[in-house]
């Protein structure tokens, strides 16, 4: 569908509607229009107008993860949410913040830091084509379900989200949850929308639970000569009474050393004591290695999702206790495929990311994905977050999806005409 001019109904719905350019391309598909509403009400009016015009809509925040998933079946209108950039209410005494979807994580962090607080979401930052690196917008992070190392202690966005405002495909504005942490009134649509990749509705506003910024943090860093040794150390660190908030590993090459960093937070004395205890414990566990205690994370920290956009990024999720066998399985799968991916991830939380360069043979990448899935059985998944088109053509990006029929039924209810990011998500939803 090509639009040479801006439909009057869209122009009257929103004060910023413009023709799309090549910069607005979504996974290779160039839409014809971009609308940037400044309020939830404008977003609602745009959706109503778009529905009447039969336009397929792609919601967009900072665009850091727009290359994730399948290309859309149709893409007529990009709904740019970055003008919704207000921190609506920071109730510091309640440790709660309400923000519009287009607020950047970095901006929110600086606002919250003034009160000694933080949103415990430390997603990887990514350079934008047109500017500085960003960890993305609140709406984008929610829609992607993205999380960083702190997920070990604080979970993923759904665990911190306590209220949400959405706009449905037909323009209906709805909210669920609220601005109190403890609340079981009604269905929790936030859980459904977190990680829904823009396929159920627009997220225009969200309310989160906050945490105090800890007085001190320390990183216990060790380099192991084998992935198996690294897995043993992760297990020991989690079992020790040191309350880690993150446990990340990094292998630049599957043949090389495995670096492990465990983060501890809290009061100064407590962190000093616990980090010393953990370093000692690691030395006893694996006598050939020396664990260092640092006040800053290693350079590769938070880069789990920051693999090159042009390449393939595979997220492997598993039951955390299986880390050792999963690492063995990954090594075997990579060897069979003749590939040497960079491996990073939240080892203590059961999630790792494999990054394969664009130059890799697509058939080998597809083979790697298939071997990973075979090794994980039904207690884990290997999801291809993004891949170059030749790889995308060869693999099922999401793999087996439990209860896909129920997910399709949910999509059918929320977006019966399939106008929201159609075809981008699991099972072609």
């Amino acid at each position: 569908m090509a639009h040479t001019s801006i439909p009057a109904s869209l122009a009257s719905a929103c004060d910023d509607v413009r023709p799309a350019t090549a910069a607005d391309t979504v996974a290779g598909i160039q839409p014809s229009l971009v609308a940037a509403p400044a309020t939830t009400e404008q977003a609602s009016a745009v959706m109503r107008a778009a529905a009447a015009l039969g336009l397929a809509v792609i919601p967009r925040g900072a665009g850091t993860k727009l290359h994730w998933g399948y290309p859309p079946e149709r893409a007529d209108l990009v709904l740019d949410l970055t003008r919704l950039d207000q921190v609506v209410e920071h109730a510091a005494g309640d440790l709660v913040v309400t923000v519009q979807a287009g607020v950047r994580l970095e901006h929110l962090a600086s606002v919250l830091a003034e009160a000694g607080q933080r949103l415990a979401l430390d997603c990887a930052a990514r350079p934008l084509p047109s500017g500085p690196a960003t960890a993305g917008t609140i709406g984008g992070v929610l829609a992607a379900g993205a999380a960083g190392p702190l997920r070990l202690r604080y979970g993923t966005p759904r665990d911190l989200l306590i209220g949400i405002t959405i706009v449905r495909a037909d323009g209906t504005i709805a909210r669920s949850g609220g601005k109190v942490v403890k609340n079981v009134a009604g269905y929790d649509l936030g859980k459904l929308f977190a990680g829904s990749r823009g396929t159920l509705g627009l997220i225009t506003q969200a309310t989160f639970r906050l945490h105090p910024i800890p007085a001190a943090a320390a990183y216990v860093i060790v380099s192991c000569d084998s992935a198996a040794a690294c897995a043993r150390l992760v297990s020991a660190a989690l079992a020790a009474a040191v309350s880690p908030v993150a446990a990340e590993l990094h292998l630049a090459s599957l043949a090389g050393p495995c670096e492990l960093a465990v983060a501890l937070e809290g009061d100064h004395d407590g962190v000093a004591q616990r980090s010393g205890m953990l370093a000692d414990l690691m030395a006893v566990q694996e006598t050939s290695h020396v664990a260092a205690v640092a006040s800053q994370p290693p350079a590769w920290w938070r880069s789990a999702g920051g693999a090159p956009q042009e390449g393939t990024l595979i997220q492997v999720a598993f039951w955390p206790g299986k880390l050792g066998s999963v690492l063995t399985g990954i090594a075997a799968a990579a060897e069979r495929a003749g590939l040497d991916p960079v491996l990073r991830g939240s080892a203590g939380s059961g999630v790792l990311h494999l990054s394969v360069p664009r130059s890799a043979d697509p058939a080998r990448v597809a083979g790697l994905v298939a071997s990973l899935r075979a090794a994980l059985h039904d207690r884990g998944s290997a999801v291809v977050q993004h891949a170059p088109p030749p790889v995308r053509d060869l693999v099922d990006l999401f793999g087996p999806v439990p209860s896909l029929n129920l997910m399709r039924a949910v999509k059918q209810q929320f977006d019966p005409d399939r106008v929201l990011s159609p075809g981008r998500f699991a099972g072609g939803i």
Partner: protein, 487 residues
């Protein structure tokens, strides 16, 4: 056209065994209410399956015959969420109580829905782990019921609610299909149906297995009891604790009337003359707990505490908690009847709302005892009344509703942990608009288009799940998958 549900008994007996089907009216009376006894309804019949496959077969029969069905765990719910349907089947999961697996390395357990909450922690204890959500009924309440209600507990301030600890669910859909939501990782591809299902109050299907996260038992736990002259001072201490960046496992407060009732009931020996007591529990690594408890003691003293006790061993801790745990039941000592309310306000509004409750209480001429999870603003005002007077019962109900209005006015919620059930569906439109409620029910329509699964709960008016406006481009997925047919 709904037939007499009793005629289903032979078919259900063929699935679950004869002794698993209850048709005797006297025996059925056992199941006519849950923990909220104000709502009663005898089920058409009750069935106690032992396996997930039996649950699926029973639900399939109900779906075929268009008979409503309601799941029930231990029946401890406080909002009538397990209130049976007179013309329906009550599916009791009490016989499904196997702990299927404990994977200590992964800190996960797989349990059946009838397993009690405390049994999970007991089974995990040898591995140095526990199941964190701890509703006060944890000795008897079931994990299946916890999932339905998204149960919390005193310690959810730090450790989170049921939804933060569930990573996979095996469910029977309202069409009778046995399926898994999530895979135990918390990161299964697709929509987070595990999260959306948790807290849906039994309206989206019946849970038959639950994968829960287990948490390392904290190295150190210490419990402080601080006595104040007024709840205002106690509230100021709570704000100061949170403001200092301390996140206790629990912060509980009781006012003078609830202390009086607890003393009469369990002789908890709280400090004489206390107008409010604050219970603060800290857990974590030893060094951190030591530092935090010193800080909390100082904050409490600064806020005007006239006595502070500290318990670091389990017996002393139990003594401090005894009065708090007994608080609800203890009301029987000072009042013929009482309503347990469950509202939430932003923590910073606690003081204003307590004042307002005092005014409402005085105006209605009814006593209100306040017991609350102060750390997260979850109030449990107990409205005391004499149930031999109809007028007083009505006034108590009205006062209870007025307290909820105050919670909503301050940006809070009508329920923090007891659920909406049948009891509070009428209050939902005060908190949510028609579009909000309509949108929530889209989820209901996706799971239960026929509206047979725990009908009449949560929402004041059911949404019709017929054809939605717009052109349908493909057959309904439930039809395609053979789960449903159009008629």
């Amino acid at each position: 056209m709904t037939q007499d549900v009793a005629t289903l008994a032979p078919r259900l007996a063929a699935i679950c065994g004869k002794d698993a089907v209850i048709t005797d009216p006297l025996e059925l009376a056992t199941y006519e209410c849950d923990g909220l006894t104000a709502h009663r309804c005898r089920p058409g019949l009750a069935v106690l399956p032992q396996t997930a496959a039996q649950v699926a077969d029973v639900v399939r029969v109900c779906a075929q015959e268009n008979v409503p069905f309601v799941a029930r765990g231990s029946g401890t719910g406080l909002s009538g969420g397990a209130l049976p349907a007179a013309d329906g089947v009550l599916i009791v999961t009490a016989r499904m109580r196997a702990i299927v697996e404990i994977d200590a390395e992964s800190r996960r357990a797989i349990v059946e829905p009838g397993v009690t909450n405390l049994a999970v922690s007991k089974a995990a204890q040898p591995y140095g782990l526990f199941y964190a959500p701890d509703p006060s009924s944890q000795q008897v309440c079931s994990v299946g019921g916890n999932v339905a209600e998204n149960s919390g507990g005193a310690h959810c301030l730090k450790h989170g609610f049921t939804v933060h600890h569930v990573t996979g669910l095996e469910i029977v859909t309202p069409a009778g299909e046995l399926t898994w939501l999530g895979d135990g990782t918390g990161l299964a591809p697709g929509y987070d149906l595990t999260g959306a299902f948790t807290g849906s109050e039994g309206t989206l299907g019946i849970v038959t297995k639950i994968i829960v996260k287990l948490t390392p038992i904290p190295q150190a736990v210490t419990t402080l009891l601080a006595a104040f002259e007024t709840t205002g001072q106690g509230g100021a201490a709570v704000s100061a604790i949170i403001g200092a960046g301390i996140l206790p496992a629990a912060i509980e407060m009781m006012d003078a009337l609830s202390i009086e009732a607890a003393e009469a009931s369990v002789a908890c020996h709280y400090p004489q003359g206390a107008g409010a007591v604050l219970i603060v529990e800290l857990d974590g690594p030893e060094q951190d707990v030591l530092a935090e408890s010193a800080a909390v003691r100082q904050i409490a003293a600064d806020a005007g505490a006239f006595e502070i006790r500290e318990a670091a061993d389990p017996d002393d801790r139990a003594a401090i908690w005894r009065g708090r745990r007994a608080a609800f039941a203890a009301m029987g000592r000072i009042s013929p009847a009482y309503i347990v309310q469950d509202g939430v306000v932003p923590r910073t509004a606690l003081h204003d709302v307590l004042d307002r409750i005092g005014e409402l209480s005085a105006a209605a001429g009814l006593r209100v005892a306040n017991v609350f999870h102060a750390g997260d603003g979850n109030l449990h005002p107990l409205v005391l009344f004499d149930d031999s007077s109809e007028a007083e019962a009505a006034a108590a109900e009205e006062l209870s509703g007025a307290i909820l209005d105050e919670c909503i006015r301050h940006g809070g919620s009508i329920t923090g942990e007891h659920g909406v059930g049948v009891d509070k569906s009428k209050y939902m439109p005060r908190m949510f608009g028609p579009d909000d409620l309509d949108t929530m029910q889209l989820l209901r329509c996706a799971f239960d288009p026929a509206g047979l699964c725990n009908p009449g709960k949560v929402f004041p008016t059911p949404r019709l799940c017929g054809e939605v406006p717009g052109v349908r481009r493909e057959p309904h997925p439930l039809v395609t998958s053979g789960q449903a047919e159009l008629f």
